[in-house]
Symmetry: C2
Amino acid sequence: MSFPSEYTRPAVTVDCVVFGYAVGKQLKVLLIERLNEPYAGRWALPGGFVEENEPLETAALRELKEETRVQNIFVEQLYTFGSPNRDPRGRVITIAYYALVNLEEHPVHAGTDAKHARWFPVDELPLLAFDHQLILEAALNRLRAKIRYQPIGFELLPEEFTLTQLQELYEAILGVRQALNKRNFRSRILKMGVLKEVGIQEHVAHRPARLYRFDSEIYHEMQESKSKELIRRGIDFEI
Amino acid sequence: MSFPSEYTRPAVTVDCVVFGYAVGKQLKVLLIERLNEPYAGRWALPGGFVEENEPLETAALRELKEETRVQNIFVEQLYTFGSPNRDPRGRVITIAYYALVNLEEHPVHAGTDAKHARWFPVDELPLLAFDHQLILEAALNRLRAKIRYQPIGFELLPEEFTLTQLQELYEAILGVRQALNKRNFRSRILKMGVLKEVGIQEHVAHRPARLYRFDSEIYHEMQESKSKELIRRGIDFEI
DNA sequence: GCAAAAGTGTTACTTTTACACCCATGC
DNA sequence: GCATGGGTGTAAAAGTAACACTTTTGC
């Protein structure tokens, strides 16, 4: 187990599953059409090799910026994939990240960087290169699980949004229609107290909705008091 | 972004956070004393370089077996750490795993493989090499979070256990004392229906407790019906 | 005035919490 | 017979699910 000589080392990449959402639309994923072998012509996740002395998340953000020109968005490490045969060129280990972009506030011109790129609805995906199908599924599972207990959904909405838009987002991500009773969704989300009312809609051909903004300060305070509460009155779990 | 020449590649390791537990004791972590530089004399997580054509999880299991002689235990990928300066020898990316071992059924002779090794209670850790403190904290956070919603705790108990032992395990992992009312812990866990009664204790100087076994088949059926139920009646969440 | 979406009140039911006491065994 | 941990019943409170109707706006 000595320090391995250079030629035995695997190559290391990062790949990004970029989820995009616009109010009222489906949840989408950004894919790049590969121009070169292997898998020329197939669609693939944006990604590339990690540079020397480059932190992993920085590499993911760099790739993201090169592909989408988007900055300052939510990015989180997903999982590391390293089957010996996942790349026909040789051993390549990839650290996968996922990112969330609101497509109205960050109008992503897919197709920068001289590559064909396109947004695909998550339920109409093409055949993908490498093990990218697997990576994408893992990202979707993570997103669907995490949106239930962490406020990451707000990353996909504009800063100000209506409760109906928030509900539609939940339905788009979870892939269900009218899953939650409007009345109960509203009471529930408002009872949490993490939304701040910031105004009302204008120029809509119906009763204008109230606009809300996610208040991350209140959320973080809540998290603390919640964990104290858990310790005070016992553990709660639901395996 | 061409395929990178060999000499620019980082080295890739796996590190394992091995949690050990014996009924009635504290939660412990297995550490190895480093004999060589860098960090000679410091304690570190067991781990080592990924071999050519070796899947990542296989590498983790191999290291685990080399260090503890333990096989067939729960192992799960945790996170990948890759700060450029985390190893003074050069760029080393590590894929961290965590493992759960019951110390009664797998009496791990820490200190195989001609290395000093020891179990440390999670709240009495020594100074660690590299960024292993960070990795260990991440593992502990993951374990504490995951035990609330997935049945991984049973990996730390003997096959057959009493409800009090299960409760003590929860308290040991979460680092709290008498956190949950005995009455309510019992109703709750039994109401889930994933425990199968398999006998009663013998030769104890008090009323013998019932022994239970975790029934993973029932658990998996439950998971399916649960996700259908969620979709039927709406989303439930608690950000 | 009508179409379109926003917004609300209440009831029956389920779940959770917080109690304190009795039970079976070994020594 | 007593020390030790095992095991339960229940009432009050809180939370959730399932309803259908009223409100406000633009055109």
